[in-house]
């Protein structure tokens, strides 16, 4: 494979008193599509700029393959960047923008032409090559930036929110294009975004960041289904989070799993949850369950074992096309979000509407314990 691994060790960066990065470490594999996900201002661009060589870290090392590149100037690093604002050269045509890195290497005219044409074709811009950047659309500009960053055949491509300036439809199309390009050339992509759905859909692995720290690194389903912290749980997708106390915890027979009973604050009904490790009795933990995992009905569902059932009032039904979002006020005053998918044209059972008394239910395996509670 042409790509290279990127190993980041204990990077820290302060701007005055402000800690932009705090002891960030991660291993990015060769050829991986690795996303760094976090809210605005969490230090994503700073991290990327350290990898690219525009910011010098206070501490730590960056390895490209097995070479520490922290002391190299940007032009000597074997990685290229697609910038947040594209940074196309306005005085050069699309063709010359893409040819720019090759001209610096004093490559022969025919070799340049061949290579530029190949990349123009890859990003489907053959017909626009003689235009100036301000004469093409935002999505096309984006593709020029990608072609220009790839033409040097770097080992790592850094992408800083490359789609954030585009509209939703175009974004999803370009994301698929990007994924295809990644599959075609097989180099390592480090993709920065604050959009969780982008990250979930294309990444091999995701690192979730907040306030300069890495909170969790994992495959998309891990991040979504077993978030390490409350922040991760609420940042990736929508979820319900409850403060609880562990009252019982024991190993289930015949499995590796543990079954725990959690007491919700100001509530008489406990919740049951399975976990792959034991949790100490009496410990304060957060409990999270995704809204789409919750079943809602007007009749009380059959009492299977370890089914969590709660009664509540529909406070806010929101129709959203393919699904409805329902906000249900439970008896302890807590609000719980439920997504009801519209799978059939007329859903089974009578329609649920405003102020109806309903039952919400989910099984013990649908929720997760988050031990890291103080965030």
């Amino acid at each position: 494979m042409l790509g290279s691994s990127v190993i980041i060790e204990h990077l820290s960066k302060d701007y005055g008193d402000f800690h932009a990065l705090k002891d960030v470490s991660m291993n990015i594999n060769q050829g991986e599509f690795f996303s760094i996900l976090g809210p605005s201002g969490c230090g994503k661009t700073t991290l990327l700029r350290i990898i690219a060589g525009f910011v010098f870290p206070d501490e730590g090392a960056v390895y490209l393959g097995d070479q520490n590149i922290v002391d190299l100037p940007p032009e000597q690093r074997d990685c290229n960047t697609v910038f947040q604002n594209y940074a196309l050269f306005p005085h050069l045509s699309i063709y010359e923008n893409i040819a720019f890195p090759l001209r610096l290497q004093k490559m022969s005219e025919s070799a340049i032409d061949e290579r530029v044409k190949k990349y123009l074709k890859m990003v489907q811009l053959e017909n626009h090559s003689q235009k100036k950047p301000n004469q093409v659309s935002g999505g096309q500009r984006q593709r020029v930036a990608i072609a220009r960053a790839l033409i040097n055949e770097p080992k790592v491509l850094l992408l800083d929110e490359p789609l954030s300036a585009l509209d939703a439809k175009l974004r999803s199309n370009l994301l698929i294009d990007l994924d295809n390009i990644h599959d075609q050339i097989g180099i390592t992509f480090i993709y920065i975004t604050h959009d969780q759905s982008e990250a979930l859909s294309v990444s091999d692995r995701i690192a979730v960041m907040n306030k300069g720290e890495i909170l969790q690194i994992g495959e998309p389903f891990e991040i979504y289904e077993s978030p390490a912290t409350e922040f991760v749980a609420s940042f990736i997708g929508e979820t319900n989070i409850f403060s609880t106390t562990v009252s019982e915890c024991s190993k289930k027979e015949d499995t590796d799993e543990y079954l725990c009973k959690l007491e919700l604050d100001n509530f008489s009904v406990p919740v049951f949850v399975t976990d792959d490790g034991p949790t100490e009795v009496g410990q304060r933990v957060s409990y999270t369950v995704r809204p789409e995992k919750i079943h809602i009905s007007l009749q009380k569902p059959m009492g299977r074992k370890y089914l969590n059932i709660f009664k509540g009032i529909v406070e806010e039904p929101i129709y959203a096309g393919f699904q409805s979002k329902l906000y249900i006020r439970l008896e302890n005053g807590e609000l719980i979000k439920v997504f009801k998918q519209h799978i059939k044209f007329l859903d089974e059972g009578p329609e649920i509407s405003y102020l109806d008394e309903v039952y919400v239910s989910w099984t013990a395996t649908d929720g997760y314990i988050i031990e890291d509670i103080d965030r």
Partner: protein
């Protein structure tokens, strides 16, 4: 629709005051000088109404051509140094946190009469001036250095005089420049120097062109600077024209030289602007 059309038609009328001003104070004198250059010399100055091409024949004398050549070279040198100094100044200014302060400092000299500023230079460079006195007191030299009344002094004062005119347009171009483009260039493999040459300079070229015009044209027509700080080796076209009017009283010849000067200046402006237009056909020029 109707209203819009009316407004649009009015547009050309708005230009009238400017047009009248321009014709009265610029075009008319030009036409007069043009006419004078084809008339004959009056005995005590002025002209006689008799068509003649003598003025234009006289221009091409060796002595005059020498002065013309010298003017071109000195203006060229002054422009070159001015631009070389102006670019880093404008860069520093654009990236500075105290822009307003520095801009004010650059503009302050404009508030002082240019003759006074030339006199200030005379008292700095003179044989009894600040530099010579300091050097003598320090014992570095015994006799005053000839700093004044030569072409070096002329070029120095020209650079000083025209520097603000060069800094401002370059600064305004750099100010509009997106510095993240330099990072993009570095990222793509350019060294720091290459990123300046391949990305910054082409983007601020129109500003540099304007600065060249703002420097070369006044230098080419300069007359007070060589008069006060120049010597025999820096007698320029401007001085020649003034002397033709006041001393030799050959108005047609002075007019012919003026036409010549105007012609060269115009050609230069056209060249620079047309060159600019060709490269950015759609963009509107901003100075």
């Amino acid at each position: 629709m109707k209203n819009l059309k009316l407004k649009k038609d009015l547009g050309s009328y708005y230009a009238y005051p400017m047009g009248i001003w321009f014709s009265l104070f610029f075009l008319l004198p030009m036409v007069l000088i043009f006419a004078y250059s084809f008339l004959s010399k009056g005995l005590y100055g002025g002209v006689e109404l008799q068509l003649s091409l003598k003025a234009y024949r006289d221009i091409f004398q060796k002595a005059y051509l020498l002065i013309l050549g010298r003017t071109v070279v000195i203006s060229f040198e002054a422009t070159l140094y001015t631009i070389i100094i102006a670019i880093p100044c404008a860069l520093a200014l654009a990236r500075s946190k105290r822009q307003t302060l520095y801009l004010t400092l650059i503009i302050i000299p404009f508030l002082i009469n240019s003759l006074l500023r030339i006199f200030a230079w005379m008292s700095i460079l003179g044989s009894d001036g600040i530099i010579n006195r300091t050097l003598i007191q320090l014992g570095i030299i015994t006799d005053s250095l000839p700093l004044l009344y030569n072409r070096r002094a002329v070029i120095l004062v020209m650079v000083y005089m025209y520097l603000p005119y060069a800094i401002l347009p370059i600064f305004s171009a750099i100010d509009r420049f997106d510095f993240s483009l330099l990072e993009a260039a570095r990222d793509l493999g350019a060294t720091k120097m290459q990123s300046y040459i391949k990305v910054l300079f082409p983007s601020i070229k129109s500003g540099i062109n304007t600065a060249i015009i703002f420097t070369f044209i006044p230098a080419f027509g300069a007359y007070t600077i060589p008069l006060f700080v120049g010597g025999k080796d820096s007698y320029l076209l401007g001085n020649l024209i003034v002397d033709q009017v006041t001393k030799t009283r050959n108005w047609p010849l002075a007019s012919a030289f003026s036409m010549f000067l105007t012609l060269i200046s115009t050609v230069l402006v056209m060249y620079v602007f047309v060159d600019d237009k060709k490269k950015n056909p759609k963009k509107k020029r901003k100075i």
